[in-house]
């Protein structure tokens, strides 16, 4: 026997406690990892180089307020902007769907060419889309999901626009961070809305990430004190604020995560202190035999840490394997696409478990360090 087997035998001596502790840590770590992954999926779209060069300008009052189309002339003249297109969210329901998991945007196809630069047309032809105002360009993921082909028609029922769309698929794109969207001619919106005085947002590409802050400031300034003040931001910042319309995802997951961690802490702290209280007398005997405070301290810490660690490994890797196996995209009708459990999230959950292991060892370990041998020996077991 060595010290490690001694610690292991102590840790495993009560099977019920081991199962309770390990499984509660495992389940909590699983919930934690899942929540954090969900939050990441909803709030932080995967970054791409191209996305960092894109800027979106929206109405300062709210994203639901349109912007006047005439702003285009002003924006075009701002230095640093390579391309700009109207970019209007249609929010239609596809076919008979009650909820549609991909967005449709009205854009200017010719201008849009210079903005979504990382996407490649993999089927059909971009020029075909440009040429036909009743056609659209569709993301490959959406095409696959609905088993569509180039030439098929997609019909959308307007939700806040009092109009429906019937679009022929002219081109299919792939290679962006989110290959789901449908893009159509903004003219369709303009025509339906009395010859288009309005756009939803402006979508731009800037020369370099370095000039983005100046460009953003310049856009904001250009429309200051006008009837439609704008707020420009990077695509990423925009998407995050857009997501906040779904409710404050971040604070929601944070508060649920805290409840999980807190509950977990109650479980580990109480099981650990129970385990040590049961053994107080034995620990006093160990002291009499010559074990010093710091040795008993490290036994208890190792035991607690070991149990929490086992639960963490089980819960974190189990969850990782689970989410990489399940086809969430299919299950959630495309709402959750990547749901990637990142090393960062796994490490975070691991750290939480480790801290819990240490915290729950603290009380018992201090009590044991303070205990006098004689008092400890008097404990009735």
């Amino acid at each position: 026997m060595n010290i490690l087997t001694f610690i292991a035998k102590n840790a495993l001596r009560n099977r019920r406690r081991v199962i309770l502790t390990v499984s509660s840590v495992a389940v909590s770590c699983g919930v934690l990892v899942t929540l954090q992954t969900l939050q990441r999926e909803l709030t932080i779209p995967p970054e791409s180089e191209a996305a960092s060069l894109r800027v979106i300008a929206r109405n300062k009052v709210s994203i639901a307020q349109p912007l006047p189309a005439r702003q285009l002339g002003v924006i075009e003249r701002i230095p640093g902007i390579v391309a700009v297109s109207p970019f209007t969210y249609f929010g239609g329901l596809y076919a008979e769907e009650k909820a549609t998991g991909f967005a449709q945007f009205g854009v200017d196809p010719e201008r849009f060419r210079g903005i979504m630069v990382e996407g490649r047309v993999v089927q059909g032809a971009y020029d075909d889309w440009v040429a036909d105002r009743n056609s659209c360009m569709v993301g490959a993921d959406t095409l696959d999901r609905y088993k569509l082909r180039v030439g098929d028609h997609m019909r959308f029922t307007g939700t806040f626009y009092p109009m429906d769309l019937d679009l022929r698929i002219a081109a299919v794109f792939q290679g962006t961070v989110d290959d789901r969207g449908v893009f159509f001619h903004h003219k369709l919106l303009d025509d339906a809305m009395d010859n288009g005085g309005a756009v939803g947002t402006w979508y731009m590409r800037v020369e370099s990430a370095a000039v983005a802050p100046q460009v953003i400031a310049a856009i904001d300034r250009a429309f200051e004190n006008s009837s439609a003040e704008v707020r420009a931001e990077t695509e990423r910042a925009f998407q995050m604020s857009f997501m906040s319309m779904l409710g404050d995802v971040k604070s929601l997951t944070l508060s649920v995560s805290s409840v999980v961690v807190f509950t977990l802490m109650l479980v580990t702290v109480s099981t650990m202190s129970m385990a040590i209280r049961e053994r107080f007398r034995e620990l006093a005997v160990l002291k009499a035999l010559g074990f010093r405070r710091h040795e008993l301290f490290s036994f208890i810490l190792a035991e607690s840490f070991g149990l929490a660690g086992a639960g963490a490994v089980l819960g974190i890797f189990g969850t990782w394997i689970f989410w990489s196996t399940v086809n969430l995209q299919k299950l959630t009708a495309g709402f959750l696409v990547y749901f990637e459990v990142t090393p960062r999230i796994m490490a975070m959950a691991g750290i939480v478990a480790a801290v819990l292991g240490i915290v729950s060892a603290m009380g018992p370990a201090l009590a044991v360090a303070r205990m006098s041998v004689v008092d400890g020996l008097k404990t009735i077991d």
């Binding site: 001694f6 035998k9 160990l286 002291k287 006098s372």
Partner: protein, 226 residues
């Protein structure tokens, strides 16, 4: 009897303060115990026997007075030095055996050796020798709950011996045993002092147990009476 006492207790007092009340557990105790003695410490309940034993063995501290063990002033050691000193110089036997239930007899006996520099095979040899001495070499792989009370106490004695300490202290080691097992345990303790050169101090209420010793000391109200 050797000239130099192994344990020298001088004017030892232990007072527990409880609110306004002082409980005097030991009151000016002075004794000498010599190497190879097997001392039976007797006296009524509450007379201070355990307290005296604990202070001599270095798990409790006196209020006044000195204890020298092998010439070392135990009170002068700090917690950590005291722990190391106990590990090397004192073997403990308790009334309730106090074995670790999840460890086998061999592992229980090995525990104090984990604090030494001995390697695995050296430890094993010493553990087996100690278990042979108490006649339990064949029960090495059994856990405490697979052993009788008497056998458990013999394992505890093996654990007390395994570091080869000069001093073995036992607080009512036969208090929980039947007559036959008690006799086995007492014979082993007797053999330790007679044949293995250990000094044994045993607290007991039982005159028959005390008769195994080379000498009896009587405590009453914290004072030595005979």
């Amino acid at each position: 009897m050797a000239a130099e006492p192994i344990v020298q207790v001088r004017e030892l007092s232990k007072i527990y303060r409880q609110g306004d009340l002082d409980v005097v557990a030991l009151n000016g105790v002075s004794i000498d115990i010599f190497p190879r003695e097997f001392v039976a410490l007797m006296g009524p309940s509450g007379s201070g026997k355990s307290t005296l034993l604990h202070i001599v063995a270095g798990i409790d501290r006196a209020t006044r007075g000195t204890v020298l063990v092998q010439g070392i002033d135990v009170a002068g050691l700090n917690e950590s030095q005291l722990a190391e000193w106990r590990n090397q110089n004192v073997g403990f036997v308790f009334q309730t055996f106090n074995l670790i239930p999840v460890l086998t007899a061999r592992e229980n006996v090995e525990l104090p050796l984990l604090l030494t520099r001995l390697n695995g095979s050296e430890r094993r040899r010493q553990v087996e020798t100690a278990l042979q001495l108490v006649g339990l070499a064949d029960r090495m792989h059994h856990r405490p709950d697979q052993l009788s009370g008497g056998q458990q106490q013999r394992v505890a004695i093996a654990r007390a011996l395994v570091t080869d300490p000069a001093l073995v202290v036992a607080d009512e080691p036969t208090g929980n045993l039947d007559a036959k097992s008690a006799a086995d345990v007492l014979s082993i303790l007797q053999a330790l002092s007679r044949d293995s050169g250990k000094t044994v101090i045993m607290v007991t209420h039982d005159p028959k147990a005390a008769a195994y010793g080379t000498r009896s000391l009587h405590l009453e109200k914290g004072e030595i009476v005979a």
